[in-house]
Protein backbone atom coordinates (compact mmCIF):
# COMPACT_ATOMS: atom_id res chain seq x y z
CA UNK A 1 0.00 0.00 0.00
CA UNK A 2 2.81 2.36 0.95
CA UNK A 3 4.60 1.82 -2.33
CA UNK A 4 1.39 2.23 -4.31
CA UNK A 5 0.65 5.53 -2.59
CA UNK A 6 4.07 6.83 -3.56
CA UNK A 7 3.87 5.61 -7.14
CA UNK A 8 0.39 7.03 -7.67
CA UNK A 9 1.34 10.46 -6.33
CA UNK A 10 4.41 10.45 -8.52
CA UNK A 11 2.51 9.39 -11.64
CA UNK A 12 -0.14 12.03 -11.02
CA UNK A 13 2.55 14.65 -10.48
CA UNK A 14 4.03 13.76 -13.85
CA UNK A 15 0.57 13.86 -15.42
CA UNK A 16 0.06 17.34 -13.94
CA UNK A 17 3.34 18.47 -15.47
CA UNK A 18 2.26 17.11 -18.83
CA UNK A 19 -1.07 18.96 -18.57
CA UNK A 20 0.76 22.17 -17.68
CA UNK A 21 3.03 21.77 -20.67
CA UNK A 22 0.08 21.00 -22.94
CA UNK A 23 -1.86 24.03 -21.67
CA UNK A 24 0.86 26.41 -22.79
CA UNK A 25 -0.29 25.94 -26.40
CA UNK A 26 -2.69 28.80 -25.66
CA UNK A 27 -1.80 31.95 -23.71
CA UNK A 28 -1.70 31.19 -20.00
CA UNK A 29 -1.22 34.71 -18.71
CA UNK A 30 -3.52 37.61 -18.02
CA UNK A 31 -4.44 39.36 -21.24
CA UNK A 32 -4.88 43.06 -20.48
CA UNK A 33 -8.51 44.13 -20.79
CA UNK A 34 -9.66 40.55 -21.30
CA UNK A 35 -8.75 38.53 -18.26
CA UNK A 36 -7.14 35.10 -18.36
CA UNK A 37 -6.13 33.58 -21.70
CA UNK A 38 -7.36 30.31 -23.15
CA UNK A 39 -4.67 28.22 -21.51
CA UNK A 40 -4.78 29.91 -18.13
CA UNK A 41 -7.55 27.87 -16.59
CA UNK A 42 -6.03 24.44 -17.30
CA UNK A 43 -2.48 25.66 -16.64
CA UNK A 44 -2.96 27.08 -13.19
CA UNK A 45 -5.32 24.32 -12.14
CA UNK A 46 -2.77 21.74 -13.25
CA UNK A 47 -0.21 23.59 -11.17
CA UNK A 48 -2.63 23.16 -8.28
CA UNK A 49 -2.77 19.43 -9.04
CA UNK A 50 1.02 19.30 -8.95
CA UNK A 51 1.08 21.08 -5.58
CA UNK A 52 -1.48 18.62 -4.21
CA UNK A 53 0.74 15.75 -5.37
CA UNK A 54 3.73 17.30 -3.62
CA UNK A 55 1.63 17.70 -0.50
CA UNK A 56 0.71 14.02 -0.71
CA UNK A 57 4.37 13.13 -1.08
CA UNK A 58 5.20 15.17 2.01
CA UNK A 59 2.51 13.31 3.90
CA UNK A 60 3.96 10.10 2.54
CA UNK A 61 7.41 10.93 3.90
CA UNK A 62 6.02 11.97 7.29
CA UNK A 63 3.60 9.01 7.23
CA UNK A 64 0.60 11.15 8.09
CA UNK A 65 -1.90 9.73 5.58
CA UNK A 66 -3.50 6.33 6.26
CA UNK A 67 -2.33 4.60 3.05
CA UNK A 68 1.28 5.67 3.67
CA UNK A 69 1.16 3.95 7.07
CA UNK A 70 -0.63 0.86 5.90
CA UNK A 71 1.40 -2.31 5.65
CA UNK A 72 -1.33 -4.24 3.88
CA UNK A 73 -0.59 -5.23 0.31
CA UNK A 74 -2.13 -2.94 -2.34
CA UNK A 75 -3.47 -5.97 -4.13
CA UNK A 76 -3.49 -9.53 -2.94
CA UNK A 77 -2.59 -12.06 -5.63
CA UNK A 78 -6.23 -13.10 -5.68
CA UNK A 79 -7.41 -9.50 -6.23
CA UNK A 80 -4.80 -8.95 -8.89
CA UNK A 81 -5.94 -12.07 -10.72
CA UNK A 82 -9.54 -10.89 -10.75
CA UNK A 83 -8.60 -7.35 -11.70
CA UNK A 84 -6.54 -8.54 -14.65
CA UNK A 85 -9.17 -11.03 -15.79
CA UNK A 86 -12.05 -8.54 -15.67
CA UNK A 87 -10.24 -5.46 -16.94
CA UNK A 88 -8.47 -7.59 -19.53
CA UNK A 89 -11.66 -9.15 -20.87
CA UNK A 90 -13.28 -5.70 -21.01
CA UNK A 91 -10.35 -4.38 -23.02
CA UNK A 92 -10.53 -7.33 -25.39
CA UNK A 93 -14.27 -6.82 -25.82
CA UNK A 94 -13.94 -3.12 -26.62
CA UNK A 95 -11.11 -3.91 -29.01
CA UNK A 96 -13.17 -6.58 -30.72
CA UNK A 97 -16.06 -4.14 -31.21
CA UNK A 98 -13.91 -2.38 -33.81
CA UNK A 99 -13.54 -5.61 -35.75
CA UNK A 100 -16.59 -7.80 -35.28
CA UNK A 101 -18.95 -5.18 -33.89
CA UNK A 102 -21.05 -5.01 -30.77
CA UNK A 103 -23.14 -7.99 -31.76
CA UNK A 104 -20.07 -10.19 -32.05
CA UNK A 105 -18.02 -8.91 -29.14
CA UNK A 106 -20.77 -8.71 -26.52
CA UNK A 107 -21.86 -12.39 -26.73
CA UNK A 108 -18.22 -13.51 -26.59
CA UNK A 109 -17.65 -11.35 -23.50
CA UNK A 110 -20.81 -12.66 -21.87
CA UNK A 111 -19.87 -16.26 -22.59
CA UNK A 112 -16.41 -15.74 -21.16
CA UNK A 113 -17.64 -13.92 -18.07
CA UNK A 114 -20.75 -15.88 -17.17
CA UNK A 115 -19.43 -19.32 -18.04
CA UNK A 116 -15.75 -19.15 -17.13
CA UNK A 117 -15.64 -16.49 -14.41
CA UNK A 118 -19.12 -17.01 -13.01
CA UNK A 119 -19.24 -20.80 -13.55
CA UNK A 120 -22.91 -20.72 -14.44
CA UNK A 121 -24.48 -23.41 -16.58
CA UNK A 122 -24.25 -23.33 -20.36
CA UNK A 123 -28.00 -22.79 -20.57
CA UNK A 124 -27.96 -19.52 -18.64
CA UNK A 125 -24.83 -18.45 -20.46
CA UNK A 126 -26.35 -19.21 -23.84
CA UNK A 127 -29.60 -17.47 -23.03
CA UNK A 128 -27.77 -14.34 -21.93
CA UNK A 129 -25.42 -14.36 -24.90
CA UNK A 130 -28.34 -14.60 -27.32
CA UNK A 131 -30.89 -12.48 -25.56
CA UNK A 132 -28.70 -9.48 -24.65
CA UNK A 133 -27.71 -8.57 -28.24
CA UNK A 134 -31.29 -9.01 -29.46
CA UNK A 135 -32.60 -6.75 -26.70
CA UNK A 136 -29.85 -4.23 -27.41
CA UNK A 137 -30.66 -4.24 -31.11
CA UNK A 138 -34.38 -3.75 -30.59
CA UNK A 139 -33.93 -1.08 -27.94
CA UNK A 140 -31.10 0.99 -29.38
CA UNK A 141 -31.33 0.51 -33.12
CA UNK A 142 -35.03 0.13 -33.67
CA UNK A 143 -36.67 2.03 -30.83
CA UNK A 144 -34.06 4.76 -30.32
CA UNK A 145 -32.51 4.71 -33.82
CA UNK A 146 -28.99 4.82 -32.47
CA UNK A 147 -26.77 2.61 -34.60
CA UNK A 148 -24.12 0.63 -32.75
CA UNK A 149 -20.76 -0.23 -34.32
CA UNK A 150 -20.76 -3.46 -36.30
CA UNK A 151 -17.31 -3.78 -37.82
CA UNK A 152 -17.25 -6.07 -40.82
CA UNK A 153 -20.56 -7.71 -39.84
CA UNK A 154 -22.38 -4.61 -41.10
CA UNK A 155 -23.91 -6.07 -44.32
CA UNK A 156 -25.52 -8.86 -42.27
CA UNK A 157 -27.79 -6.25 -40.75
CA UNK A 158 -29.16 -4.76 -43.97
CA UNK A 159 -32.03 -7.26 -44.16
CA UNK A 160 -32.93 -6.46 -40.55
CA UNK A 161 -33.14 -2.76 -41.33
CA UNK A 162 -35.23 -3.51 -44.38
CA UNK A 163 -37.58 -5.47 -42.20
CA UNK A 164 -38.00 -2.91 -39.46
CA UNK A 165 -38.08 0.35 -41.40
Amino acid sequence: MRVAEFVMALVMALFSLYLMWKSTELPIGWIPDEGPGGGAFPFWLSLGMLLCCLWMLVRWVTRTSPPSRSTEPYMTPQTLKWFLLVAGSLTVMIGLIHIIGVYGAVPLFLIFYVRFLGRHSWVITGALAVFTPIAAFLFFEIALKKTLPKGFTEPLFYPLYDFFF
Partner: protein, 333 residues
Protein backbone atom coordinates in the same frame (compact mmCIF):
# COMPACT_ATOMS: atom_id res chain seq x y z
CA UNK B 1 -35.15 -21.58 -16.43
CA UNK B 2 -33.87 -24.18 -18.83
CA UNK B 3 -37.07 -24.28 -20.80
CA UNK B 4 -37.32 -20.53 -21.04
CA UNK B 5 -33.78 -20.24 -22.33
CA UNK B 6 -34.28 -22.78 -25.09
CA UNK B 7 -37.51 -21.16 -26.08
CA UNK B 8 -35.88 -17.75 -26.41
CA UNK B 9 -33.11 -19.34 -28.44
CA UNK B 10 -35.44 -20.98 -30.92
CA UNK B 11 -37.48 -17.82 -31.23
CA UNK B 12 -34.34 -15.87 -32.08
CA UNK B 13 -33.32 -18.38 -34.74
CA UNK B 14 -36.77 -18.30 -36.29
CA UNK B 15 -36.74 -14.52 -36.31
CA UNK B 16 -33.35 -14.40 -38.02
CA UNK B 17 -34.34 -16.87 -40.76
CA UNK B 18 -37.61 -15.08 -41.40
CA UNK B 19 -35.91 -11.75 -41.74
CA UNK B 20 -33.39 -13.12 -44.18
CA UNK B 21 -36.17 -14.20 -46.53
CA UNK B 22 -38.17 -11.03 -46.35
CA UNK B 23 -35.05 -9.05 -47.24
CA UNK B 24 -34.34 -10.85 -50.48
CA UNK B 25 -37.62 -9.74 -51.97
CA UNK B 26 -37.16 -6.07 -51.21
CA UNK B 27 -33.85 -5.63 -53.05
CA UNK B 28 -35.29 -5.35 -56.53
CA UNK B 29 -36.22 -1.63 -56.50
CA UNK B 30 -34.52 0.66 -59.03
CA UNK B 31 -32.00 3.39 -58.15
CA UNK B 32 -29.89 3.54 -55.03
CA UNK B 33 -31.62 3.31 -51.69
CA UNK B 34 -29.91 3.46 -48.31
CA UNK B 35 -29.37 0.03 -46.81
CA UNK B 36 -29.23 1.21 -43.23
CA UNK B 37 -30.12 4.36 -41.27
CA UNK B 38 -28.38 7.42 -42.68
CA UNK B 39 -26.11 9.33 -40.30
CA UNK B 40 -27.09 12.98 -40.52
CA UNK B 41 -24.06 14.69 -38.98
CA UNK B 42 -24.58 18.15 -37.53
CA UNK B 43 -21.43 20.23 -37.18
CA UNK B 44 -22.78 21.98 -34.06
CA UNK B 45 -23.96 21.00 -30.59
CA UNK B 46 -27.44 20.08 -29.41
CA UNK B 47 -30.04 22.83 -29.17
CA UNK B 48 -28.34 25.43 -31.39
CA UNK B 49 -29.70 26.91 -34.61
CA UNK B 50 -28.02 24.38 -36.90
CA UNK B 51 -29.20 21.52 -34.72
CA UNK B 52 -32.79 22.69 -34.68
CA UNK B 53 -32.76 23.10 -38.44
CA UNK B 54 -31.37 19.61 -39.01
CA UNK B 55 -33.94 18.08 -36.69
CA UNK B 56 -36.65 20.03 -38.46
CA UNK B 57 -35.48 18.59 -41.78
CA UNK B 58 -35.39 15.11 -40.24
CA UNK B 59 -38.98 15.69 -39.16
CA UNK B 60 -40.05 16.64 -42.69
CA UNK B 61 -38.34 13.55 -44.11
CA UNK B 62 -40.05 11.34 -41.55
CA UNK B 63 -43.46 12.95 -41.79
CA UNK B 64 -43.59 12.77 -45.59
CA UNK B 65 -41.89 9.38 -45.78
CA UNK B 66 -39.15 10.59 -48.11
CA UNK B 67 -36.68 7.82 -47.33
CA UNK B 68 -37.04 4.10 -46.71
CA UNK B 69 -34.48 4.29 -43.88
CA UNK B 70 -34.51 6.95 -41.20
CA UNK B 71 -32.11 9.90 -41.16
CA UNK B 72 -30.53 9.92 -37.72
CA UNK B 73 -29.07 13.23 -36.52
CA UNK B 74 -25.70 12.99 -34.75
CA UNK B 75 -24.13 16.05 -33.18
CA UNK B 76 -20.41 16.38 -33.77
CA UNK B 77 -19.95 19.97 -32.79
CA UNK B 78 -16.52 19.60 -31.15
CA UNK B 79 -13.89 22.16 -32.12
CA UNK B 80 -16.39 24.34 -34.02
CA UNK B 81 -17.18 21.43 -36.28
CA UNK B 82 -13.58 20.23 -36.66
CA UNK B 83 -14.69 16.87 -35.39
CA UNK B 84 -17.50 16.62 -37.93
CA UNK B 85 -15.23 17.63 -40.82
CA UNK B 86 -12.65 15.05 -39.88
CA UNK B 87 -15.38 12.46 -39.52
CA UNK B 88 -16.56 13.10 -43.05
CA UNK B 89 -13.04 13.01 -44.36
CA UNK B 90 -12.49 9.63 -42.69
CA UNK B 91 -15.74 8.32 -44.16
CA UNK B 92 -14.82 8.97 -47.78
CA UNK B 93 -16.93 6.77 -50.03
CA UNK B 94 -19.44 5.92 -47.27
CA UNK B 95 -22.91 6.33 -48.80
CA UNK B 96 -24.67 6.43 -45.43
CA UNK B 97 -23.21 9.66 -44.07
CA UNK B 98 -24.28 13.21 -44.88
CA UNK B 99 -23.72 16.47 -43.06
CA UNK B 100 -25.61 19.68 -42.42
CA UNK B 101 -23.26 22.66 -42.66
CA UNK B 102 -23.05 26.25 -41.53
CA UNK B 103 -20.34 28.83 -42.01
CA UNK B 104 -17.86 27.10 -39.74
CA UNK B 105 -17.63 24.83 -42.79
CA UNK B 106 -15.30 27.50 -44.21
CA UNK B 107 -13.78 29.05 -41.13
CA UNK B 108 -12.86 25.90 -39.17
CA UNK B 109 -10.60 24.35 -41.86
CA UNK B 110 -9.05 27.78 -42.47
CA UNK B 111 -8.30 28.25 -38.79
CA UNK B 112 -7.09 24.67 -38.26
CA UNK B 113 -4.94 23.79 -41.27
CA UNK B 114 -3.75 20.77 -39.27
CA UNK B 115 -7.12 19.11 -39.87
CA UNK B 116 -6.13 18.39 -43.47
CA UNK B 117 -9.67 18.96 -44.68
CA UNK B 118 -10.30 20.44 -48.12
CA UNK B 119 -14.00 21.20 -48.43
CA UNK B 120 -13.81 21.27 -52.22
CA UNK B 121 -13.31 17.49 -52.11
CA UNK B 122 -16.63 16.73 -50.43
CA UNK B 123 -19.62 15.79 -52.55
CA UNK B 124 -22.09 18.66 -52.79
CA UNK B 125 -25.74 17.75 -52.19
CA UNK B 126 -27.65 20.98 -51.91
CA UNK B 127 -27.85 24.44 -50.45
CA UNK B 128 -31.25 24.82 -48.86
CA UNK B 129 -31.24 28.41 -47.66
CA UNK B 130 -29.21 31.35 -46.53
CA UNK B 131 -29.75 32.71 -43.05
CA UNK B 132 -29.42 36.43 -42.53
CA UNK B 133 -28.06 38.79 -39.90
CA UNK B 134 -29.36 42.06 -38.49
CA UNK B 135 -27.93 44.60 -36.10
CA UNK B 136 -30.01 44.57 -32.91
CA UNK B 137 -30.28 46.82 -29.85
CA UNK B 138 -32.56 46.89 -26.81
CA UNK B 139 -35.54 49.21 -27.29
CA UNK B 140 -34.77 50.93 -23.98
CA UNK B 141 -31.62 52.40 -25.54
CA UNK B 142 -33.88 54.61 -27.65
CA UNK B 143 -31.66 54.01 -30.66
CA UNK B 144 -33.67 53.71 -33.86
CA UNK B 145 -31.18 54.24 -36.68
CA UNK B 146 -27.69 53.14 -37.62
CA UNK B 147 -26.44 56.73 -37.31
CA UNK B 148 -27.68 56.96 -33.75
CA UNK B 149 -26.04 53.59 -33.08
CA UNK B 150 -22.68 54.80 -34.36
CA UNK B 151 -22.97 57.99 -32.35
CA UNK B 152 -23.88 56.04 -29.22
CA UNK B 153 -20.93 53.67 -29.61
CA UNK B 154 -18.55 56.58 -30.12
CA UNK B 155 -19.97 58.44 -27.13
CA UNK B 156 -19.70 55.38 -24.88
CA UNK B 157 -16.17 54.57 -26.00
CA UNK B 158 -14.83 51.12 -26.83
CA UNK B 159 -14.53 50.30 -23.13
CA UNK B 160 -18.21 50.56 -22.42
CA UNK B 161 -19.95 49.33 -25.55
CA UNK B 162 -20.35 45.59 -25.39
CA UNK B 163 -21.21 43.63 -28.50
CA UNK B 164 -22.27 40.05 -27.83
CA UNK B 165 -21.80 37.21 -30.27
CA UNK B 166 -20.72 33.61 -30.80
CA UNK B 167 -17.11 32.44 -30.43
CA UNK B 168 -14.18 34.37 -31.87
CA UNK B 169 -13.54 33.73 -35.53
CA UNK B 170 -17.14 32.67 -36.06
CA UNK B 171 -19.88 34.45 -37.97
CA UNK B 172 -20.90 37.05 -35.38
CA UNK B 173 -17.35 38.20 -34.80
CA UNK B 174 -16.77 38.56 -38.54
CA UNK B 175 -19.92 40.64 -38.93
CA UNK B 176 -18.85 42.75 -35.95
CA UNK B 177 -15.46 43.30 -37.58
CA UNK B 178 -17.29 44.47 -40.74
CA UNK B 179 -19.23 46.99 -38.68
CA UNK B 180 -16.15 48.25 -36.89
CA UNK B 181 -14.30 48.79 -40.14
CA UNK B 182 -17.18 50.46 -41.95
CA UNK B 183 -18.05 52.95 -39.25
CA UNK B 184 -14.60 53.33 -37.75
CA UNK B 185 -15.82 52.30 -34.31
CA UNK B 186 -14.42 50.00 -31.67
CA UNK B 187 -16.46 47.72 -29.40
CA UNK B 188 -15.74 45.18 -26.69
CA UNK B 189 -16.66 41.80 -28.16
CA UNK B 190 -18.00 39.27 -25.63
CA UNK B 191 -18.19 35.69 -26.98
CA UNK B 192 -21.01 33.38 -25.85
CA UNK B 193 -21.84 29.77 -26.56
CA UNK B 194 -24.74 30.27 -28.96
CA UNK B 195 -26.98 32.81 -30.64
CA UNK B 196 -29.90 32.12 -28.30
CA UNK B 197 -27.84 33.06 -25.25
CA UNK B 198 -26.62 36.17 -27.01
CA UNK B 199 -30.19 37.26 -27.70
CA UNK B 200 -31.18 36.76 -24.07
CA UNK B 201 -28.12 38.66 -22.81
CA UNK B 202 -29.21 41.65 -24.91
CA UNK B 203 -32.68 41.61 -23.39
CA UNK B 204 -31.15 41.30 -19.90
CA UNK B 205 -28.99 44.37 -20.79
CA UNK B 206 -25.74 42.59 -20.09
CA UNK B 207 -24.57 43.63 -23.55
CA UNK B 208 -25.44 46.67 -25.69
CA UNK B 209 -25.90 45.28 -29.16
CA UNK B 210 -25.85 42.02 -31.16
CA UNK B 211 -25.84 40.75 -34.72
CA UNK B 212 -28.37 37.95 -34.25
CA UNK B 213 -30.20 35.91 -36.88
CA UNK B 214 -33.85 36.91 -37.20
CA UNK B 215 -35.09 33.65 -35.69
CA UNK B 216 -33.11 34.27 -32.50
CA UNK B 217 -34.55 37.72 -31.82
CA UNK B 218 -38.02 37.40 -33.36
CA UNK B 219 -39.81 36.68 -30.08
CA UNK B 220 -38.27 39.63 -28.29
CA UNK B 221 -38.84 41.89 -31.27
CA UNK B 222 -42.52 41.10 -31.31
CA UNK B 223 -42.73 41.71 -27.59
CA UNK B 224 -41.23 45.14 -28.16
CA UNK B 225 -38.01 44.41 -26.27
CA UNK B 226 -35.48 44.58 -29.08
CA UNK B 227 -35.18 46.49 -32.33
CA UNK B 228 -33.37 45.69 -35.59
CA UNK B 229 -31.51 48.66 -37.02
CA UNK B 230 -30.39 47.29 -40.34
CA UNK B 231 -30.09 44.03 -42.20
CA UNK B 232 -26.89 42.59 -43.65
CA UNK B 233 -28.63 41.56 -46.87
CA UNK B 234 -28.79 42.93 -50.41
CA UNK B 235 -31.75 45.13 -51.27
CA UNK B 236 -35.06 43.31 -51.68
CA UNK B 237 -33.75 39.84 -50.85
CA UNK B 238 -35.41 39.49 -47.48
CA UNK B 239 -39.19 39.37 -47.64
CA UNK B 240 -42.06 38.67 -45.30
CA UNK B 241 -42.21 40.24 -41.89
CA UNK B 242 -38.46 40.85 -41.87
CA UNK B 243 -38.66 42.59 -45.25
CA UNK B 244 -39.40 45.95 -43.64
CA UNK B 245 -36.03 46.09 -41.94
CA UNK B 246 -33.86 48.45 -44.00
CA UNK B 247 -30.68 47.02 -45.49
CA UNK B 248 -27.36 48.79 -45.15
CA UNK B 249 -27.48 49.35 -48.89
CA UNK B 250 -30.83 51.10 -48.68
CA UNK B 251 -29.50 53.27 -45.89
CA UNK B 252 -26.71 54.39 -48.18
CA UNK B 253 -23.75 52.54 -46.72
CA UNK B 254 -22.81 50.74 -49.93
CA UNK B 255 -23.32 47.21 -51.14
CA UNK B 256 -20.48 45.56 -49.22
CA UNK B 257 -22.32 45.23 -45.89
CA UNK B 258 -23.72 41.81 -46.72
CA UNK B 259 -23.20 38.56 -44.85
CA UNK B 260 -25.03 35.24 -45.03
CA UNK B 261 -25.05 32.00 -43.10
CA UNK B 262 -25.43 29.18 -45.59
CA UNK B 263 -27.54 26.16 -44.67
CA UNK B 264 -26.42 23.28 -46.88
CA UNK B 265 -26.08 19.54 -46.95
CA UNK B 266 -22.98 17.73 -48.18
CA UNK B 267 -21.72 14.15 -48.39
CA UNK B 268 -18.21 12.66 -48.09
CA UNK B 269 -15.86 12.51 -51.05
CA UNK B 270 -15.98 9.64 -53.50
CA UNK B 271 -19.59 8.52 -53.31
CA UNK B 272 -21.37 7.16 -56.38
CA UNK B 273 -23.39 9.33 -58.72
CA UNK B 274 -26.64 7.50 -57.98
CA UNK B 275 -26.08 7.92 -54.23
CA UNK B 276 -25.67 11.64 -54.76
CA UNK B 277 -28.78 11.65 -56.94
CA UNK B 278 -30.74 9.92 -54.18
CA UNK B 279 -29.88 12.55 -51.59
CA UNK B 280 -30.48 15.44 -54.00
CA UNK B 281 -33.88 13.88 -54.70
CA UNK B 282 -34.76 13.63 -51.02
CA UNK B 283 -33.76 17.20 -50.29
CA UNK B 284 -35.54 18.51 -53.36
CA UNK B 285 -38.72 17.11 -51.88
CA UNK B 286 -37.85 18.66 -48.51
CA UNK B 287 -37.20 21.98 -50.19
CA UNK B 288 -40.53 21.92 -52.00
CA UNK B 289 -42.54 20.85 -48.97
CA UNK B 290 -45.00 23.32 -47.48
CA UNK B 291 -43.36 22.96 -44.09
CA UNK B 292 -40.01 24.09 -45.39
CA UNK B 293 -41.36 27.05 -47.37
CA UNK B 294 -43.35 28.17 -44.36
CA UNK B 295 -40.30 27.85 -42.14
CA UNK B 296 -38.17 29.96 -44.50
CA UNK B 297 -40.74 32.69 -44.46
CA UNK B 298 -41.26 32.65 -40.75
CA UNK B 299 -37.63 32.59 -39.77
CA UNK B 300 -36.37 35.18 -42.20
CA UNK B 301 -34.27 32.80 -44.29
CA UNK B 302 -33.63 33.42 -47.96
CA UNK B 303 -34.47 30.45 -50.20
CA UNK B 304 -31.40 29.35 -52.11
CA UNK B 305 -31.62 26.02 -53.92
CA UNK B 306 -28.21 25.24 -55.38
CA UNK B 307 -26.72 21.88 -56.28
CA UNK B 308 -23.98 20.05 -58.21
CA UNK B 309 -20.77 21.76 -59.27
CA UNK B 310 -22.39 25.17 -58.92
CA UNK B 311 -22.60 24.49 -55.20
CA UNK B 312 -18.94 23.48 -54.97
CA UNK B 313 -17.99 26.66 -56.81
CA UNK B 314 -20.10 28.64 -54.37
CA UNK B 315 -18.35 26.94 -51.44
CA UNK B 316 -14.91 27.67 -52.85
CA UNK B 317 -15.78 31.32 -53.51
CA UNK B 318 -17.19 31.72 -50.02
CA UNK B 319 -14.12 30.10 -48.54
CA UNK B 320 -11.98 32.72 -50.27
CA UNK B 321 -14.20 35.50 -48.95
CA UNK B 322 -13.88 34.09 -45.45
CA UNK B 323 -10.12 33.79 -45.80
CA UNK B 324 -10.00 37.52 -46.48
CA UNK B 325 -12.34 38.30 -43.59
CA UNK B 326 -10.35 36.19 -41.14
CA UNK B 327 -7.15 37.83 -42.34
CA UNK B 328 -8.65 41.26 -41.84
CA UNK B 329 -9.75 40.25 -38.34
CA UNK B 330 -6.25 39.03 -37.59
CA UNK B 331 -7.41 35.48 -36.90
CA UNK B 332 -5.16 33.84 -39.51
CA UNK B 333 -1.99 34.92 -41.36
Amino acid sequence: MKKLATRILSLAVALGVGLGFSAVQKDAAAGWEPKKPVEFVIMAGKGGGADRLARFIQGIIEKNNLSSKPFVPINKGGGSGAEALRYLKDHAGDPHVIMATLNSYYTTPLRNPGLGVDIAEFTPITRLAEDTFQLWVHTDTGITTVDEFVAAVKAAGPENWKMGGTGKGQEDSLVTAMLEKKFDIKVTYVPYKGGGTVAKELIGKHINSTVNNPSEQAGFWEAGKSRPLASFTPKGKLTGRFGDIPTFEELGYGTDMVYYMQRSVIAPAGIDKDVQAFYVGVFEKVYKSDEWQEYLDKKGLIPGWLTGTALTEYFVAEREAHRQMLKAAGEID
